[in-house]
């Protein structure tokens, strides 16, 4: 057995070699068993011959080894050669153990530590083989075919080296070695002649032999006890049956098939899949590892194994041989040898692959094979029967079922399952790609498409170069400016201004629509304008008259007021220094639109004075809604404040009330038919001028009233003086008007929102307690605190946000009145419940605005959506909008004019129902 194993090992190497070099390795098998003595003799001879050579030997071996490498390198161009030399080294390495009967111990005793004779031999032969392929092959071949052509052999070992000058130096250096070689070779020849079956060496030496099929002897001579058919791998009971078998159909068929397969090269092998496995022993090809395993377990295989064991034939390991079609093609010629070998020698070599070079590859692959671990065990459900035995399996990943545990195992290793596993569980799982024809086609098609697309893009880029430049410019320069960029970007030629304001939102449109609705009509404005203008002129005229009348008296009283310039400073006192600035500003502003007659009524009550006289009525100014421009539709009441030099008294008021109608008639144009009615309101400290539609309230006040009431000064004319609070209110109104014009009016959207809020306060009881001035403060504060300009919609929402956030609740900061020196809360007098209600209302409004129900806040019909003219980026939206528009229109077209929120809701529901 030991021998057999060794033999096998050796043969294995030999067969590989034989296969590679297309030699008929057959003869060697049995011959070897009987050969050891002869081989030993050969070696002995060699050693004997090498006594003088020993010294030279090592060097020679070294050089030759080097040479072999050099040669291999030189021949690297031909894979065949390279592989061969590689192989030889391998074979040589295997040699010592492979041939224990050979005198290895003897070699050891010769104390050549680096004993490499076998290797040397191998190399020698290897070179020979390699060379053979390069052209010297016939020579070598004849050496070893000496059995048939012995005559030619003696000279050839010498000529062969000569044929290769590169080698000669080395060879010459150890002619003794060559001699030994020659001796050995002759011994072999002799041995072969006597043994008739060849030897291991012969087998080994098959290197360059162009083996021929006819050289393959039948195994009959060996088959003494057992009648074994190599082709069919069966044993026959006796010679008779064996003969019959050989003549039988089956055998012939097999033989023919083997020949055809050999002749046809790899054709047969190629047919099988990439991963086909082959049982060398039985010459059976299996499609997969599992099928192979099944085969090995099978009775047929076991029989063959038994037989081979009995015969003492080599039994290849159960390791399957892989058939790799791609590799088969490499070795066209060797195929022949494979076929020819037919016998046992093919056992290890049926793949007939140029083993040496591929050895490594193959190893890798062989390692790969077991690496295909079953995956996704967790996803296989076992369906158990009542007895708890697994009946079937269900793979959840692939959604398939198996009844057999083996099938389950196979499935788990299968490509489909692994692909699913990769897809669904472990994305980095390696699944070998099957380069099927179909996939290749797909890949090609994809590449093609990519190419086409690239080209297309290239062309289009060229085409759009101009546009791209533009884009690059805008995107590079101010992409961060948001809408600006967009307008320019897509609005080429659309006439967008450089300002690039965002298009107005639905909220904006609602607010603006509401604003347009509450804004007073032109006629109303004109009426008010005329009435106010007349009143102012009349007051001026009155003031003139009073001044003329009272000058002497007053001069003594207040000498300080001499000039007109001083007048401006004086009436307001120190606190009004700020107001003063505003006063002059506002006064002129007010005067100008008041009337074109240069009276400058508001601005300069004293203007017409002309002289240094001190007049009781120093000036008049519009305050309140009129001054702030907050008049709404339906507003009829406007206020003027007349500044008096001294504390305004009831007497003065009465006089004004008495004289004013006369002056009004005087200033009124002759063709104007307005009839003014003047009414005294002593409790208010004012007179009311009314022309039937417009009421102008003229309050008398004086800056002196603000001065601390102390001393007898006040008491002096206490009874006669107008109510102090009213006078202060009038003064405050003056300041508020100035503040408004200076601060609030300049804020974007502020006036609009204040008008809207005024409307709100007018409409909604919860909001009424919010006094107008506080509301103005609030709105302007909210606008001011916004980081940028707000659109009307945003501004209204922000006001609601502020109120909803509890700005006017108790813990809030309050609204500081900027027109007071002290910290005064403009809302200080608002009761808690009112604050609460107002806040709650604002909170509700805020959410309504947020959810696009701003129309409810504004108490108006929802506006139909507009089509945005702002460009292509809203195309889908635009279309949708127009649809809703249509709906909206039909709904409105029903002729229902819906006023209240509730009704609007109802109609909405109706319209929804209709749709």
């Amino acid at each position: 057995m030991m021998a057999a194993n060794n033999y096998f090992g050796f043969t294995h190497g030999g067969t590989q070699y034989g296969a590679a070099t297309a030699s008929a390795a057959y003869g060697g098998q049995t011959g070897y068993a009987v050969a050891p003595a002869a081989t030993a003799a050969t070696y002995g001879t060699q050693r004997a011959a090498a006594t003088g050579y020993d010294t030279a030997y090592q060097a020679a071996a070294a050089t030759q080894a080097a040479h072999a490498h050099a040669h291999a390198a030189a021949a690297a161009a031909s894979a065949y050669d390279a592989s061969k030399s590689a192989y030889y080294q391998q074979a040589a390495a295997a040699y010592p153990t492979a041939a224990p009967p050979q005198p290895q111990p003897a070699y050891d005793t010769t104390a050549k530590p680096a004993y490499s004779t076998p290797a040397t031999y191998a190399q020698q032969y290897g070179q020979g083989g390699a060379r053979g392929s390069g052209g010297a092959k016939p020579a070598y071949g004849s050496v070893y075919t000496a059995t048939t052509a012995a005559a030619s052999y003696p000279s050839q070992p010498y000529t062969a080296p000569a044929a290769q000058p590169a080698k000669q130096t080395a060879n010459r250096g150890n002619s003794a070695y060559d001699t030994a070689l020659y001796n050995a070779a002759s011994m072999y020849v002799a041995q072969q002649k006597t043994g008739g079956g060849g030897s291991g060496w012969k087998n080994y030496n098959k290197s360059g032999v162009g083996a021929t099929p006819q050289r393959r002897p039948k195994p009959q001579p060996k088959a003494q006890q057992l009648h074994y058919c190599d082709v069919c791998r069966i044993s026959c009971a006796g010679p008779q049956t064996y003969k019959e078998h050989l003549e039988g159909q089956k055998h012939k068929k097999k033989e023919a098939a083997v020949k055809v397969a050999a002749a046809g090269g790899a054709a047969g092998a190629r047919a099988c899949g990439a991963s086909a496995l082959r049982c060398e022993l039985c010459d059976v090809t299996c499609t997969g590892a599992d099928a192979y395993a099944a085969h090995v377990r099978g009775i047929k295989h076991q029989k063959v194994v038994k037989l081979h064991t009995m015969l003492g034939k080599p039994i290849p390991s159960t390791e399957p041989t892989k058939l790799t079609p791609a590799k088969k093609t490499v070795a066209g010629a060797p195929k022949v040898s494979f076929v020819a070998s037919g016998g046992l020698s093919t056992v290890g070599a049926s793949s007939s692959v140029p083993r040496p070079a591929d050895k490594e590859d193959e190893k890798v692959e062989e390692e790969d094979e077991p690496e295909v671990q079953p995956v996704g065990q967790d996803y296989i459900e076992e369906i158990r029967g009542d007895d708890g035995k697994a009946l079937s399996f269900n793979c959840k990943l692939c959604d398939c079922k198996f009844n057999d545990p083996n099938a389950k195992e196979m499935h788990m290793k299968g490509r489909r399952h692994r692909l699913q596993y990769k897809k669904k569980v472990q994305p980095d799982l390696e699944v070998k790609v099957k380069p099927s024809m179909h996939q290749r086609k797909l890949a090609e098609a994809k590449a093609q498409r990519m190419l086409v697309r690239d080209e297309l893009w290239a062309r289009r880029r060229m085409h759009e170069a101009g546009e791209d430049d533009e884009r690059a410019y805008w995107e590079g320069a101010d992409w961060w400016r948001g809408p600006h960029h967009h307008h320019h970007h897509q609005g080429m030629g659309m006439g967008y201004g450089p300002v690039g304001r965002r298009p107005e939102t639905s909220d904006d449109r609602h607010v603006l629509a509401k604003h347009a609705e509450i804004y007073p009509p032109e006629q109303q404005l004109q009426e008010i304008q005329r009435a106010v203008s007349h009143t102012e002129k009349a007051l001026k005229s009155l003031s003139d008259a009073l001044a003329d009348h009272a000058r002497p008296k007053n001069q003594a009283g207040k000498a300080v007021i001499k000039t007109e310039d001083k007048k401006d400073d004086k009436p307001e006192g120190k606190e009004d220094g700020r107001d003063n600035q505003l006063f002059s500003f506002v006064g002129e502003g007010e005067a100008a639109p008041a009337s074109g007659d240069g009276a400058g009524a508001g601005g300069a009550g004293g203007a017409p004075v002309g002289g240094p006289g001190v007049r009781a009525l120093k000036g008049v100014m519009r305050v309140g809604l009129l001054a702030k421009g907050l008049l709404l539709r339906g507003d009829r009441d406007v206020r003027l404040v007349v500044l008096c030099h001294d504390r305004p008294t009831v007497t003065l008021l009465k006089r004004v009330a008495n004289d004013l109608p006369h002056h009004l008639n005087k200033v009124k144009g002759p063709n104007e038919d307005a009839k003014y009615k003047v009414e005294l309101q002593p409790a208010e400290g004012a007179v009311q001028v009314s022309d039937g539609t417009v009421n102008v309230v003229v309050s008398l006040t004086s800056a002196v009233m603000r001065e601390p009431a102390e001393g007898g000064d006040i008491k002096r004319d206490d009874k006669d003086v107008l109510p102090r609070q009213k006078c202060l209110d009038a003064l405050a109104a003056l300041r508020h008007a100035k503040w408004f014009q200076a601060r609030a009016a300049s804020l974007q959207s502020c006036v609009i929102i204040i008008r809207i809020m005024r409307d709100l306060c007018r409409r909604i009881p919860n909001w009424t307690p919010l006094n107008p001035y506080a509301m103005e403060l609030l709105v302007s504060g909210v606008m001011q605190s916004a980081s940028g300009a707000l659109s009307p919609g945003e501004a209204l929402r922000r006001v609601m946000e502020a109120l909803a956030g509890g700005l006017i609740l108790e813990h809030g900061p309050g609204l500081r009145d900027p027109c007071e020196k002290e910290l005064v809360d403009a809302l200080g007098n608002m009761p808690a419940q009112k604050r609460e209600d107002l806040t709650a209302s604002a909170q509700q409004f805020l959410r309504q605005i947020a959810f696009r129900q701003i129309n409810k806040v504004l108490d108006m019909e929802p506006l139909p959506k507009v089509k945005h003219a702002s460009g292509g980026w809203k195309f889908p939206r635009k279309r949708r909008r127009s649809n809703t528009d249509a709906d909206q229109d039909t709904h409105n077209g029903d002729g229902k004019v819906v006023k209240t929120e509730e009704k609007a809701d109802v109609s909405e529901i109706n319209s929804n129902a209709k749709k």
Binding site: H811, F851, R852
Partner: protein, 390 residues
């Protein structure tokens, strides 16, 4: 936009590959931050004495003390989290024969990591990033494995057993006094491979990834203890009022951070001011559509934290906060904070209450499920665009 600029500038041929024709960019919404009294202070100088907030401050601190987990609780959580982390780390480093899934990374997230745990809620969160795709089986396998390993550890220390139950976010390991939610997610590049019927839900998976980002952001930006105090108070408040319940912990984190830190001085505000401010911001529509809200620092540019809420929830949350704001303004903070149960546990935000003769009433919702199409349509658009607006 940035991406666009790059494209325009360098002319990368991938323009078509992004599948977006040049002109169909999403509309840029210039959303405005809401009115914020703290930031608007220059426009509204205080003209009356500041209210005496000592009572509120005291109440806030008292409530916070109640909400803080006790040392026992903390150590219980710590113990199980440490063990679980060990087990999971071992699985990351040496999976051995564990093949149900491959783990990439394990991270602690959530309130435990942020230090904002609440008393009585001893649930820590750990996110497990799987290298493999998170199938339900993988989660189950991991759960079993973790359970087994953890029990070994527990036995070694002579502690009670743990049990582990799977759910749609991963699984929860429950010990005697504490629990850990193991939230399963996967690598970014695997996200698009998820299939609804095989794997965990995409939204869940990505929310777990977001949780990791949130923890990191929090660690870097919101470590001030005032923020943590406010987070506890707000989370407690939100949990007790139905309208505020939909607010996610992440929104609350952002809100608390904003309220404490975002002021002109960049110094942490006192807790009472910040608490009022948070209510006031919510009431002022911070989380309403059309408002810039709070930008989410952990998402792509211009995404807002509150868009995760649906419109009805946004409306409801705002309305609740508005009512609570007015209740607190009337001195009802003890009820709002939960120091005192309101009429046997009723939700004060839905009841009409009277404070010193002032009636505070709850508000009706403004959002209707099916108002006229014009309204919702626009709103929905807004909601979507917020997310993608570049």
């Amino acid at each position: 936009m940035v991406r666009g600029a790059g494209r325009g500038g360098r002319g990368i041929p991938g323009r078509g590959g992004m599948g977006r024709p040049p002109f169909s960019r999403p509309r840029v919404l210039m959303l405005r931050p809401p009115f914020d009294l703290i930031l608007a202070e220059p426009a509204f100088p205080r003209c009356k004495p500041a209210p005496d907030d000592a009572a509120l401050t005291q109440a806030l601190l008292k409530r916070h003390a109640e909400l803080c987990p006790t040392p026992t609780e903390q150590s219980a959580v710590l113990s199980i989290v440490t063990k679980l982390q060990t087990v999971l780390d071992n699985l990351v480093v040496a999976p051995g024969d564990f093949a149900a899934c491959q783990l990439e990374e394990v991270r602690q997230v959530g309130s435990y990591k942020k230090g904002t745990m609440m008393a009585g809620k001893n649930v820590a969160d750990i996110v497990v990033i799987m290298k493999t795709l998170p199938t339900k089986e993988a989660v189950e396998g991991l759960s079993n494995k973790v359970n087994e390993e953890l029990n070994k550890l527990m036995r070694a220390e002579g502690l009670g057993n743990v049990s582990s139950t799977c759910h749609e976010r991963g699984f929860t390991v429950t010990a005697a006094t504490a629990a850990v939610r193991v939230l399963v997610t996967t690598l970014h590049q695997n996200l698009r491979k998820l299939e609804p019927e095989v794997h965990l839900d995409y939204k869940v998976i990505s929310s777990h990834l977001a949780a990791i980002r949130h923890s990191r952001w929090f660690e870097e930006n919101a470590h001030h203890s005032s923020i943590k105090v406010l987070i506890r108070l707000l989370r407690d408040m939100c949990a007790r009022h139905s309208g505020l319940e939909p607010l996610t912990p992440w929104m609350i984190d952002l809100l608390a951070h904003h309220c404490i830190m975002n002021n002109p001085a960049r110094q942490a505000l006192p807790i009472n001011v910040a608490f009022r401010r948070s209510l006031s911001l919510l009431a002022g529509g911070l989380f309403l559509p059309g408002c810039a809200g709070l930008p989410d620092p952990c998402e792509a540019a211009h995404s807002r934290a509150h868009t995760a809420l649906d419109l009805a929830a946004q409306d409801h949350a705002a309305a609740t906060a508005q009512t609570l704001l007015r209740v607190v303004a009337r001195g009802g903070h003890r009820y709002v904070l939960g120091l005192q149960a309101f009429e046997g546990g009723k939700d004060i935000s839905t009841e009409i209450t009277v404070w010193d003769g002032v009636v505070v009433s709850p508000l009706a919702p403004a959002y209707h499920d099916s108002p006229e199409p014009m309204d919702t349509e626009d709103k929905d658009d807004d909601g979507i665009q917020d997310g993608v607006a570049a």
